[in-house]
């Protein structure tokens, strides 16, 4: 979707300000929402990024990163039926009425245990063992498609209808435009595609600079 999360190339946000000696988390609730999301293994509840992208644009810009996590986890718990609509409404509107259990109830089968949390290993990400043939080869010129899907996509707005070159082929991955919305994995190759900065930003950009973007077969046509 042409959402507020697709920030590449926008103006007006000011300088990048780095905090020195920044802690991993600034507030305790940030630790808790991070750990809650990981313990619930949000990636199993659906596509996390799609959930973040549902946040209204004004709210997205006005809230912090871990508030985005809270928004996404609530949405995913509701959509997966682990919380019902009333519970989510109460969490949003009257969280002070949720009592803290004195004794935690027994942990259900399937919940993430401490020993699993210690070695929360890699997922395979979206990479697939699939014999899908590549549509492009390194060095080949490509043109990105001029598409504006309403659902999830990884083709940033700033790189649509632009000419680039295949730099390398990273292998076969699930296609998020489809897999993130339950449409099947649609296995296909992901390439690093190299763009001249001037192709993306015009003559004001440095002639020496390049932007590399990871793109799926379905975003590309031969140039």
């Amino acid at each position: 979707m042409n959402g507020i999360h697709d920030l590449g190339g926008m103006h007006g946000f000011g300088p990048v300000v780095a905090e020195s000696n920044e802690p991993v988390f600034h507030e305790d609730w940030e630790r808790r929402i991070f750990a809650l999301s990981m313990a619930m293994r949000i990636w199993r509840l659906g596509n996390v990024r799609t959930a973040w992208e549902q946040m209204p644009p004004a709210e997205y810009l006005a809230t912090s990163y871990y508030e985005h996590w809270l928004f996404a986890l609530l949405l995913q718990l509701e959509q997966s039926g682990l919380l019902d609509e009333d519970e989510v409404e109460r969490l949003r509107e009257a969280p002070e009425t949720v009592r803290i259990p004195l004794m935690p109830s027994s942990v259900r089968n399937g919940a993430l245990r401490r020993e699993d949390a210690r070695a929360l290993g890699p997922s395979r990400g979206g990479q697939l063992d699939d014999p899908a043939a590549p549509r492009f080869a390194p060095g080949q010129a490509v043109l990105t498609r001029n598409i504006h899907p309403i659902g999830h996509t990884r083709l940033p707005r700033y790189a649509r209808a632009r000419r680039g070159f295949i730099d390398c082929d990273y292998g076969v991955f699930a296609f998020p435009d489809s897999s993130a919305v339950g449409g099947g994995q649609k296995p296909q190759h992901v390439y690093s595609v190299r763009f001249d900065a001037r192709e993306l930003w015009g003559p004001g950009a440095s002639a020496a600079d390049r932007i590399y973007i990871d793109l799926w077969d379905d975003y590309l046509d031969p140039a």
Binding site: H5, L7, G8, F13, P15, V16, V17, A18, E19, E22, P23, V24, E27, D28, W29, R32, I33, F34, A35, A39, M40, R49, L61, Y65, E67, L82, L83, R90, L91, P95, E96, V98, I100, P101, P104, S105, S106, V107, R108, A111, L112, R113, R114, A117, G121, P122, S123, R124, G125, Q127, R154, P156, F173, L200, S206, A208, D209, R210, I213, D214
Partner: protein, 216 residues
């Protein structure tokens, strides 16, 4: 950062918020959500403490710095790292969530690499830990692709015009680590001493590694 041993479930234990201070809306919501999930048996509170400990104390940019220092000291390791980062890092146990498919990018006198995620906040967790606020912020995500040299100046890095800046937008499942240039004046340093020089920003590509003048 201390404090990973003092939270046993509830935001009221946060030492930065005295017990008599009212909780903010977001604190209340997160605490209530945790209570509800614990009550339903969907969460093992011990797993939460373990996860926080992992990401607050075990995973962080020191892991990446060790890799960079070894690459500087060991040409064979460096060549394997650049050829096949995922397998080479997995041999060191440096694999985990958000580091499943790794690519290492080498900075040279003529090429400077810099990593961003314009759509989100993708970052190589096993090597650098969780990303700093600026990396996830609108200023960085918006400007890194359109004005990389301006962003670098925000970080005090001024590159000559003839150096090629390569910006890597992590739009897919690949995660990128920059191998910065080994600094002048570091000859004869041990791998440990080299690792101590390597900053998180240098491995994102918004910094360069320097030897402190006192050490030269």
């Amino acid at each position: 950062m201390s404090g990973h041993d003092d939270h046993h479930g509830h935001a009221t234990d946060d030492p930065s918020h005295p017990h008599n201070a009212p909780l903010s809306d977001v604190q209340l919501r997160v605490r209530a959500l945790e209570s509800l999930l614990v009550e339903k048996g969907l969460i093992d509170p011990a797993a939460l403490d373990e996860l926080i400990d992992q990401y607050e104390t075990k995973v962080g940019p020191r892991n990446g710095a060790q890799v960079v220092a070894r690459a500087w000291a060991d040409p064979d390791f460096k060549s394997r790292l650049l050829q096949n980062a995922t397998d080479t890092l997995a041999e060191l146990g440096l694999i985990g969530r958000q580091g499943e498919n790794m690519v290492v990018l080498e900075n040279t006198p003529t090429i400077h690499n810099m990593v961003v995620c314009t759509l989100c906040s993708c970052y190589p967790w096993p090597l650098l830990g969780l990303p700093p606020v600026w990396y996830k912020s609108a200023p960085y995500r918006s400007r890194a692709v359109i004005d990389p040299r301006g962003v670098l100046r925000d970080f005090g890095v001024n590159l000559p015009e003839e150096v090629e800046v390569r910006v890597w937008d992590s739009t897919a499942d690949l995660r990128y680590l920059v191998l910065p240039m080994r600094p002048d004046g570091s000859e004869g340093m041990s791998q440990e001493e080299l690792a101590a020089l390597v900053t998180r920003d240098a491995m994102i590509g918004t910094g360069v590694v320097k030897v402190p003048e006192a050490a030269q």
